[in-house]
Symmetry: C2
Subunit: 414 residues, 2 copies
C-alpha cells in the first residue's frame, strides 16, 4: 500500500492492547494502521454472558473503525496477516502488503487443548463472538433435544453440562449455566424439568481459581455448590468425545462440554521466526520490543514478560497498560527521545462472578465476596465497556434479568 511521508506504525490485532496502542498514538506525527481479521473489538470478559444468552453479541462488540472514528491518523483494515518480513519491514496480508516503520503485535491468544486438538469439536472454547453464539446454541439445543427424546439415558446425557477448567472463565460459565437451568428455563418445558440438569465443573488442580487466595477460592466453591454446581477438583481430563468426557478418575456422560482450561498465543512468533515459550508467547525485552528487532513490539497475551521475578498475567488490564506504554514509547522515539524507562505493570486485582448474586474480588488492599462483590464487579465492567450506548443497554439488560430472572438473547441461530 502507498506510503504517506510520516512514519508508519502497523498494529496487528484490535483487542485491549492493540486498541490502546493506537489511541496512545493519536497525537503523534505518525500514520497508524490497525489490522484485524474481524471488524469488531470484543469485550472478552463478558463473552460468557453471550454464551449463556444474557447479552447479545453487539452489546459487547463494537466496530473497530467506529472506536477509532475520531482519530484521523488511524486507518483500520479488515485483513488477515499471513507473514511478516522483518528484514524488509513488510506485513503481508491476504489482501494488502503493508510496509512499516514500527510494528506492534497484539494478536492475543486462543484456546489450547494441550496437544489434543481433536477435542475441540466436542469441547469448544470461548474466545470470540462466534464461539459464544456456538456455545449458546449448544446449551439451548441440549434442552430442546431433551424435551423431545423418549430415551432416558440420552435425556440424562443431554441434561449434563461439563465445564472443563476451574479458572475465572470456568467458574463464571458454570455459575451462569446453573442459573439458566434453575431459573431462566424453569417453567419453559413440559416433559423435562431443567432444574434436574447436572452442571459439573472439572479442575485438574486441587482447588479452583489458582490465581486467587485460597479463602476466596473456597468461597467460590461453596457458592457454586449451593447453586447446584458439582465442583470436581483433582480431575485431569484424559479424553473428550461426542458422548462425554473421561478424567483420570471417572467417566461422565454429557452432550455439552465447554473448554476453559488453557490458552495458547497466536502464531505471531512463527511469523517473526523468533523464540517463544511453551504457550507460544514471545519473550520480550523490558521495553516490550522483540529481542533483536528494535522496531517490533509484542504486547498483551502474546508477550512473555517477567517483572521483578513475577510473570505479568494474561489479563485485560495488563494488555491495556502494555498498549499504552508502547504507543507512548513509539511517539517518543519518533520525536527523537529514545531514553524511555522500561514497562512497569501495575496490578489492580482480579474479579470473578459466581452467578448473578455473588462475585469474588481480590484487590491489593481489599477482598470482597457475595452481593457486595457482585455489585463491585458490575460497576467495574459497565464502566470499562466502551460506548455509552452499550453501557446503558448492558446495565438495563442486567437490571432486567436481575428483576425477572429472564435472559434476553436466547437465540439458536447460526
Amino acid at each position: 500500500m502507498g506510503r504517506m511521508s510520516l512514519p508508519r506504525v502497523v498494529i496487528v490485532g484490535a483487542g485491549f492492547g492493540g486498541l490502546e496502542a493506537a489511541r496512545a498514538l493519536a497525537n503523534a506525527p505518525v500514520e497508524v494502521i490497525v489490522v484485524d481479521q474481524q471488524n469488531h473489538h470484543c469485550f472478552q470478559p463478558l463473552l460468557y454472558e453471550v454464551a449463556t444468552a444474557a447479552l447479545s453479541p453487539a452489546e459487547i462488540a463494537w466496530p473497530i473503525r467506529a472506536l477509532l472514528r475520531r482519530q484521523k491518523n488511524a486507518l483500520v483494515m479488515l485483513a488477515r496477516v499471513d507473514a511478516i518480513d522483518t528484514a524488509g519491514r513488510i506485513v503481508n496480508t491476504d489482501s494488502v502488503t503493508l510496509p512499516y516503520d514500527f510494528l506492534v503485535l497484539a494478536t492475543g491468544a486462543t484456546h489450547s487443548y494441550f496437544g489434543h486438538d481433536a477435542w475441540e469439536p466436542f469441547a469448544p472454547g470461548l474466545k470470540r463472538i462466534e464461539d459464544a453464539t456456538k456455545i449458546r446454541a449448544r446449551i439451548l439445543m441440549a434442552f430442546e433435544r431433551a424435551e423431545l427424546t423418549e430415551d432416558a439415558a440420552m435425556r440424562s446425557r443431554l441434561l449434563t453440562f461439563v465445564v472443563i477448567g476451574g479458572g475465572p472463565t470456568g467458574v463464571e460459565m458454570a455459575g451462569a449455566i446453573a442459573e439458566v437451568a434453575r431459573e431462566t428455563l424453569r417453567s419453559d418445558f413440559r416433559r423435562i424439568d431443567p432444574r434436574q440438569s447436572r452442571i459439573i465443573l472439572l479442575e485438574a488442580a486441587g482447588r479452583l481459581l489458582a490465581s486467587f487466595p485460597e479463602s476466596l477460592a473456597r468461597y467460590a466453591e461453596r457458592t457454586l455448590r449451593a447453586m447446584g454446581v458439582e465442583v470436581m477438583t483433582s480431575n485431569l481430563v484424559t479424553a473428550c468425545d461426542g458422548q462425554g468426557v473421561t478424567t483420570d478418575s471417572q467417566r461422565i456422560e454429557a452432550s455439552t462440554l465447554i473448554w476453559a482450561a488453557g490458552v495458547i498465543s497466536s502464531p505471531a512468533a512463527d511469523w517473526l521466526g523468533v523464540a517463544h515459550d511453551r504457550v507460544g508467547r514471545i519473550l520480550v525485552n523490558p521495553d516490550l520490543t522483540v529481542d533483536g528487532l528494535k522496531d517490533v513490539f509484542a504486547i498483551g497475551d502474546l508477550a512473555a514478560l517477567t517483572e521483578r521475578g513475577r510473570p505479568v498475567p494474561g489479563v485485560a488490564p495488563a494488555a491495556k497498560q502494555m498498549g499504552r506504554y508502547v504507543g507512548r514509547r513509539i511517539a517518543a522515539v519518533v520525536r527523537g527521545d529514545t531514553s524511555g524507562a522500561p514497562f512497569v505493570y501495575r496490578h489492580f486485582g482480579e474479579l470473578a462472578t459466581i452467578g448473578r448474586r455473588s462475585a469474588i474480588v481480590n484487590l491489593p488492599y481489599l477482598r470482597l465476596t457475595g452481593p457486595i462483590g457482585w455489585l463491585f464487579w458490575s460497576v467495574a465492567h459497565i464502566y470499562f465497556l466502551i460506548g455509552a450506548r452499550n453501557r446503558a443497554i448492558v446495565a438495563f439488560s442486567w437490571l432486567w434479568s436481575y428483576l425477572t430472572f429472564q435472559r434476553g438473547a436466547r437465540l439458536i441461530s447460526s
Copy 2:
C-alpha cells in the same frame, strides 16, 4: 408421541398466525403442540433493521417456549415437519411422530425468484434472522473491501447496492442502506467516502408500493430520491450474478444485491397433496379449513382466501386474525358447537418507513407522511413487539440512533 386424553391440536409454525392460534386455545380443553424448525418467533416487520445493523437479532426474536411459558396446555417442539398423513391424522417430523385431532398449518412464506433459484446466492432475501445477519455482513463487508482495494472499477462495484423489488420491504431496505452510507459510516473510512455509494431500488412495475395509493407511493419515491436513492421503476430483472444485475433495459455493476421482489408459500400444500395457487398458497374455505379436510386449517401467508371479492393480503395482522379465528373455532368445535360464522378480515391499513425521518401510513380514514408518519409507525411497531424488555430496548436503540446517527449492531460474524 404418547397421547393425553384431551383432543390434540398440532400447530405447525410459530409466526404471527401460529402463535395467535395457540394463545386462543389457552383456556380450551385441548392439548396444544406447537412445532417449529426454529426456537424463536421472529418479528419480521423489523428484520430490515437487523439487516442494516440498527437492531440486534435478539431484540426482534424471542424463544417460542418463553412466549408460551404460562400456557400450561401448550407444548413447544423444535422439529422439522417432513410429511403429513391426513388419513391417519399424523404429522411426521425429523424427530417425533405426532398424531393430531386438529392440525393448524401456519408455515408462512419464503422468497421466490420466479423460477430463477440460481439467483439466490447473489441476491439473498429477507425472511429469517439468519438472512438478516447474512445481509448485514455483506453490506458491511462491501465497505471494508472497498476501503482496501486499489482497483477503481472494483471499488465502484463494491459501493453499489441494489435492492430488487419496490414493495414495503424494498423501500425500507433502500432507505436504511442510504442512511448507513450517508450518516452512520460517514466518518469511519479514510480511503473511501461512503457517501459516494450508489443505492439503487429496482422495480418492475411503473411505480413503487403497488398496494398503496398513488399519492403515498409518489411521496415515498420523492423522499427516497432526496435521501440519495436512485429509484428505477419499469426495470424488470433478467439476471443476477456475482458482479451485478441485468434488467430489461440496463446492466448495473454491483457487488451487493438484495432480493425483496416476491414470496412463495412453504411446501405445506405438497405435504397435504392438495391444490395450491401460483405462489404455493393453499385454497381454503371461508372457515379456513383446507377443502376436503375439515380438521386441517391453513392460515397466514400459507392461505389463499378471497373475501368479498378481494384477496386477504399476506401481512402480519391478517395472519394474527386468522390464527385467533382458528383457535376460537377449534375451541368451539371441541365444546360441541360447530355453528360458527366464517372468517372476516378486518383491514387496519398499512405502513412503510422511508429512512429514519419519514414514513407513509395508509389507514382507512387517515393518511400520514413525513415525521408524523414515522412517529406513528414507531409507536405502532414498539407496541406490537412482544415483551416489555424488548419494547424498552428497541425504543432505547431507536432513540439513541435518532440522536446520534449511530447504529448499534454493526457486527460482521457468521
